[in-house]
Symmetry: C2
Subunit: 218 residues, 2 copies
DNA sequence: AATTAAATTTAGACAAAACTAAAAATAGGT
DNA sequence: ACCTATTTTTAGTTTTGTCTAAATTTAATT
């Protein structure tokens, strides 16, 4: 497994090619900021290795082996993110770039020990689930804040957009994972929300609300 | 800085090319298990970048910038080794391979935080000094056990050979860094030593004694 | 069913890092 | 000073991953 191969598998998984849905070369190229022709080359190689099914002009989807490999990389990425935040005081907007490098370190013992050190976390700093060693996902019953009905309560458990600007915005506005949320009111005009977060009232744009995951209470 | 460039600089430093001594391409090739012709190519590239002085048919030596870069990689390698042993319960014979990968992670913040987490260790698990952030070495007054006079005492502080077999041998014989050592007697015949280690008497071959560093007490 | 626009693949090239085999330079011994 | 063995470099290939530009296939529209 080269680093490049691993990055392709990860991207295909994230684009939804895990459940045998076919992902186009263009979509992969755009996501990875490379050219479609490069993707074609890699598709052939990964197909040779039995990690993806590739049909010319149709796209690629991960095989069982491909999913397994992708999950192991995602697992490493997310565990390293937790490590950086929990043990080294990184902020959640700083971890992605470094984890992109650390996820390629080849040592099963290393990642298992990191997992143990962190006491087997189930979610990463952005609320994304960490696959278990045997590739199982800890799915959670969550919905977007923008889809919560008025008067419903919940806990903020994840972000959909984990870009640096969005995360910094959340920090600035004291919106953090784990916070309690109650939807007070919706504004028809611009779809903004009036919410209570940890008891304090605030107004939130639709943009923001549609990028925050909430676990419903009642 | 590519990974390969970093590995060359590190090797040149270890072969003694830090103090402007010229190291031959052959020596580098042997150390890195590659071919002299490959070394020549890299020597030209590193010379272009101002990291080594290279004279055809004469060899290479590190420039100031080259030494600085080499030390920063060695620093990272050794700090990661300490991390693996102290925080993840790796044994001292398991750390090298993984540290070889981790040393190439690019993030100044990461290594500084690891340093802090470990409380700024001065030596790695094999007793090798860890360069400071500004490239200074913590040299220690140490000598090989084989060179200690009879009746002198000291503390075992490092290994010269840090190969897996040697380290495992030391473990098996309960020889560890930090142990007190007293040289009782030398055998002229085979240069073996009779020593007291942590109070217990044992016999040690010249082979072993010439790969253990000791800090003299008196 | 034909045409056209968009997506995708092919073909050929390049850069990095390595290798092999052949050529060139150095150093040692007489 | 010359010859020879060794070391080192050069020249030409290979592999991996990328690119551009041209060719092909698919899909959408009429």
């Amino acid at each position: 497994m080269t680093r490049s191969e691993e990055n392709y598998l990860k991207t295909i998984f994230h684009l939804g090619g895990g459940d045998s849905k076919s992902i186009t070369t263009n979509a992969i190229a755009e996501q990875m900021e490379t050219k479609p022709s490069s993707v074609t080359d890699m598709a052939k190689k990964l197909s040779e290795k039995g990690l993806v099914d590739y049909v010319r002009y149709q796209g690629v989807s991960l095989t069982g082996a491909g999913v397994k490999t992708a999950l192991s990389i995602i697992r490493k990425h997310r565990l390293w993110e937790v490590f950086l935040v929990e043990k080294l005081d990184f902020t959640w907007d700083e971890v992605h770039e470094v984890a992109e490098q650390l996820e390629h370190i080849k040592s099963e013992k290393l990642i298992d020990k990191i997992d143990e050190l962190l006491e087997f976390p189930k979610y990463d700093p952005h609320g994304d689930p960490i696959p278990t060693k045997d590739g199982k996902f800890q799915e959670r019953d969550e919905k977007l804040l923008s889809e919560m009905p008025i008067n419903s309560k919940g806990i903020c458990v994840g972000v959909k957009d984990s870009s640096v600007p969005f995360l910094k915005f959340l920090d600035k506005n004291k919106i953090a994972l784990g916070n309690t949320i109650k939807v007070m009111d919706k504004e028809d005009f611009d779809n903004s929300l009036r919410i209570q977060m940890e008891g304090k009232e605030m107004r939130i744009s639709h943009q923001i609300a549609s990028n925050l995951y909430v676990k419903k209470n009642d």
